[in-house]
């Protein structure tokens, strides 16, 4: 397992601490991990795009939000996903294809009061990923989303949103070992899955 990604180049675009943790996990699995396109030689096998809330998952009613905050917490991160996907396409096509994995929030899939902008980002990112999956499959690129809980996407946060009222079936996967390990299996496995969202929340949400 430790050499699963030997010889692979992984680009983790953004995501702050989430990106750092996943990058460390991929590195321990043998990948050469970069955090910026400019650090690579212009090509990669795997691109991970964490979709995180610039507001640190701080709740705010929409009625109290000014336009600048709306742009910061909705339009800017959604635009960053678009940019990251376009950068991913460029570096993966250099190698004849590869894998793109977005890390998206589960709260956007079921809705969460006081998190409207980030919910929009999460669902927008998933739809954008599907469009990319359809468009880039012929170029050997798969695009999938892994859905994570608020605690996974904002480590250290005290849960302000209860995703469901039912406890998860399993322990919540951690970023560095479990999530990175799952990404690695997508990276080396056959290219048969694309345009999907897989729940990596320990079996919490099962309605989607």
């Amino acid at each position: 397992m430790t050499d699963l990604l030997a010889g692979k180049v992984a680009l983790v675009l953004g995501g702050d601490a989430v990106g750092d943790a996943v990058g460390q996990g991929l590195s321990r699995l043998g990948a050469m991990v970069f955090r910026k396109v400019a650090e690579t030689s212009g090509s990669a096998d795997l691109v991970v795009i964490p979709v995180v809330d610039p507001g640190g998952l701080t709740p705010m009613p929409l009625a109290e939000m000014d336009e600048a905050e709306w742009i910061r917490r909705c339009e800017a991160p959604l635009g960053a996903v678009r940019t990251a996907l376009q950068e991913a396409h460029a570096v993966l096509t250099e190698r004849g294809g590869g894998r793109i994995v977005l890390l998206v929030p589960t709260i956007s899939m079921i809705g969460a009061a006081d998190f409207a902008p980030f919910s929009a980002v999460g669902e927008g990112a998933r739809s954008l990923a599907k469009a990319a999956a359809r468009g880039w499959g012929a170029q050997g690129i798969t695009v999938n989303c892994l859905a994570l809980t608020q605690e996974q996407l904002a480590p250290g946060i005290e849960g302000t949103v209860t995703e469901t009222r039912v406890p998860p079936a399993l322990a919540t996967p951690d970023l560095e070992n479990d999530v990175a390990g799952f990404i690695a299996t997508l990276a080396v496995g056959p290219a048969v899955v694309t345009g999907t969202t897989m729940m990596l929340d320990g079996g919490n949400l099962m309605s989607v």
């Binding site: 929409l62 909705c74 376009q86 396409h89 409207a116 927008g124 990112a125 739809s127 599907k130 359809r134």
Partner: protein, 251 residues
């Protein structure tokens, strides 16, 4: 069904918006038709008045916060209440196809402004009035926001984002009695008509993909669903996306 209610629609001078406006008026609502082109909005308002309905036409650029607030204020001044704001307006670039790697900043920024910024403006501007009536905020989304569209990635992103917004605002505003839902229609519009004129074979292709073997009519097929969402029979429905597509997509 909608007697005594006031419904405001953005982007309502043609296509699905116009069809929904006519249907709401036929159901007894006072209707506010807004569009970038006032003459086009007024044409729809006249059509409603010609059969005894109540309608007001307003020019509104939904990307401008001041115009959106003025639109709501004018509605309240004219009709005294707001029971539903239906955000249907889309960017003039929304039908311009390009694979994601070819999408330009211009395409992205214009569509975001109408799709996302405008939704934000409309939601904030309408909330106080909707709280007063226990009304509804309704967003027109698309199958592209559910399944992704190869030639329309930006449109897909926005329509998906609007679904996320629908769910969260439904949870946020529910305690205040305001419902938030989305409609994902497939209906004949001027843009679709032009598309079929240019590629006649596509009409048959799209119709054959629907279980009901046809493309919807904005007034006859989409309008009643809007009326249902605004009216009392849907009072326990919120946070949902209703797919009104003849069975083209089933989730």
């Amino acid at each position: 069904m909608l007697s005594g209610k006031t419904v405001l629609l953005t982007g309502a001078s043609q296509g699905v918006g116009k069809g929904m406006a006519l249907a709401a008026a036929a159901a007894g609502a006072s209707v506010v038709i807004t569009a970038r082109n006032l003459d086009a909005a007024e044409s729809v308002a006249q059509e409603i008045r010609s059969v005894g309905g109540r309608a007001l036409a307003l020019r509104c650029d939904v990307t401008d916060r001041g115009e959106v607030e003025a639109m709501v204020a004018a509605t309240l001044q004219e009709f005294g209440r707001l029971d539903a704001l239906v955000h249907n307006a889309t960017s003039r670039f929304s039908g311009r196809g390009a694979r994601l790697d070819k999408v330009t900043d211009e395409d992205w920024n214009d569509q975001i402004a109408v799709g996302m910024r405008a939704t934000f403006h409309c939601a904030q501007a309408a909330l106080p009035a909707l709280k007063a009536t226990g009304g509804s905020f309704i967003i027109l989304t698309s199958n592209a926001g559910i399944e992704g569209s190869l030639p329309l990635p930006v449109y897909s992103a926005i329509k998906g984002a609007q679904r996320g917004l629908t769910k969260s605002l439904a949870r946020e505003w529910g305690p205040d009695g305001v419902r938030v839902n989305a409609i994902a229609p497939v209906a004949m519009t001027p843009a679709m008509g032009k598309f079929f004129d240019a590629q006649p074979e596509m009409r048959g292709y799209i119709e054959s993909g629907a279980a009901l073997r046809r493309v919807g009519d904005p007034q006859a097929d989409i309008g009643p669903v809007l009326n249902f969402l605004i009216g009392p029979d849907s009072s326990f429905i919120t946070g949902q996306t209703l797919l009104v597509n003849g069975g083209a997509t089933m989730v």
